[in-house]
């Protein structure tokens, strides 16, 4: 009888020991018999990733994209009209570009006289006109299939360095008007202190 009791006790102590060992193991893992409390960040990550992609994309979807450079000091203006998607003519201290493609070089606020018609004294800049004619042709083809794009037909946005002489401005505008551009938008940096309509 006493032997049986002893055996029972041995079995009990063995199972108790095993239980304690399992508990110890669990405690080591940081588990207390339950699943650990975890923050579900998946939905938050989704929101943030979408926001990040949207912000990165909004840079390239602006109607006019200007890369700051020492060659292009855009003047400040008191207007708040927003730029639209049009053909962009950029006149920097060193070059004239149409939709970011180089048309010809500029030196000391002047273009090479040989590139003009009539040479030297003319207002018509031949390489610029060629590129603008191509640009308006492209606009026309787009407008033929997408009527909403036709609203910007014949409109050009001019981004010009603040030190450009008036003569070059009139040459560029004259050349553009010969390529059937009749309305112009001068891009300026909106002066936040004096916002006006």
């Amino acid at each position: 009888m006493a032997e049986e009791k002893n055996q029972n006790y041995e079995i009990l102590s063995e199972s108790y020991e095993q239980e304690m060992l399992a508990k110890k193991k669990a405690a080591k893992k940081g588990v207390r018999g339950e699943t650990p409390a975890k923050l579900t960040m998946n939905s938050l990550m989704d929101i943030l990733t979408i926001l990040l992609v949207f912000l990165l994309k909004s840079y390239s979807t602006d109607a006019v994209n200007v890369t700051p450079s020492s060659d292009l000091d855009i003047p400040k203006g008191k207007t708040m009209l927003t730029p639209e998607q049009t053909v962009v003519i950029t006149v920097s201290k060193s070059a004239i570009l149409v939709d970011n493609n180089m048309a010809l070089g500029v030196k000391d606020g002047k273009v090479d006289g040989a590139q003009k018609r009539p040479p030297e004294d003319g207002y018509f800049i031949i390489p610029l006109n060629k590129m603008l004619v191509d640009a308006i042709e492209k606009q026309r083809r787009i407008a033929a299939v997408n009527p909403s794009a036709g609203k910007s037909l014949g409109i050009a946005t001019i981004i010009m360095d603040a030190d450009t002489p008036f003569r070059l401005l009139t040459e560029v505008m004259y050349t553009a008007s010969q390529a059937e551009f009749s309305k112009f938008k001068f891009l300026v940096i909106a002066d936040a202190t004096e916002g006006q309509g």
Partner: protein, 183 residues
């Protein structure tokens, strides 16, 4: 003696997202602030229309009255104003520009340099007076000597667009037409 093999431990397969979250949380405010730094705007400008002059005067205009054709010509000495093909004379200096340059500071390469500057306040005031006499007129022709810098053209456009009367803004001549240079 055989070595005891260590029991294989379970590997935590969850991604540690904390560094990625840190990066995104820094990038978002950075992009948001960078967006606001340079706000771009445009000024609408037209070129003179080529074609026969309209025979019929606008309805608000007296039949015998000439069109206003308000013109500002920028030169090195100041601004010359023309209305109805006539020079608006400066009473103090009948041979000089309508609004001569005044003493002030000009910003060259980001630094203020004392010198003669265009008097935009006086221009706005004069245009407001002209607007009082011709309330329906909205067009202005801007013209300049060939070497006048683009920044002054923009400033003249700003000065001629509207006038601030305290909190109120009064529209002056918002339709700009750019003409070829002063010979």
């Amino acid at each position: 003696m055989a070595k005891k093999r260590r029991p294989t431990e379970e590997v935590d397969t969850d991604l540690n997202l904390t560094p990625a979250m840190n990066l995104i949380l820094i990038l978002i405010p950075l992009l948001l602030t960078a967006m606001e730094q340079m706000k771009l705007a445009v000024i609408n400008v037209a070129t003179p229309q080529i074609g026969p002059a309209s025979e019929v005067p606008p309805p608000d205009q007296a039949p015998d009255e000439k069109p206003l054709k308000l013109t500002i010509a920028l030169t090195d000495r100041g601004m010359h104003l023309y209305a109805r093909d006539q020079v608006i004379e400066n009473k103090d200096d009948p041979l000089g520009p309508t609004i001569p340059k005044k003493d002030g500071e000009e910003i060259i390469d980001g630094k203020p340099v004392p010198g003669k500057v265009y008097d935009y306040e006086k221009l706005t005031q004069m245009l407001a007076d002209i607007k009082d006499e011709n309330p329906v007129e909205e067009n202005i022709i801007i013209n300049a000597e060939s070497h006048i810098k683009y920044r002054y053209i923009i400033q003249v456009m700003d000065a001629s667009r509207e006038k601030k009367d305290g909190d109120k803004k009064r529209s002056l001549f918002p339709n700009v037409v750019l003409a070829a240079g002063v010979a």
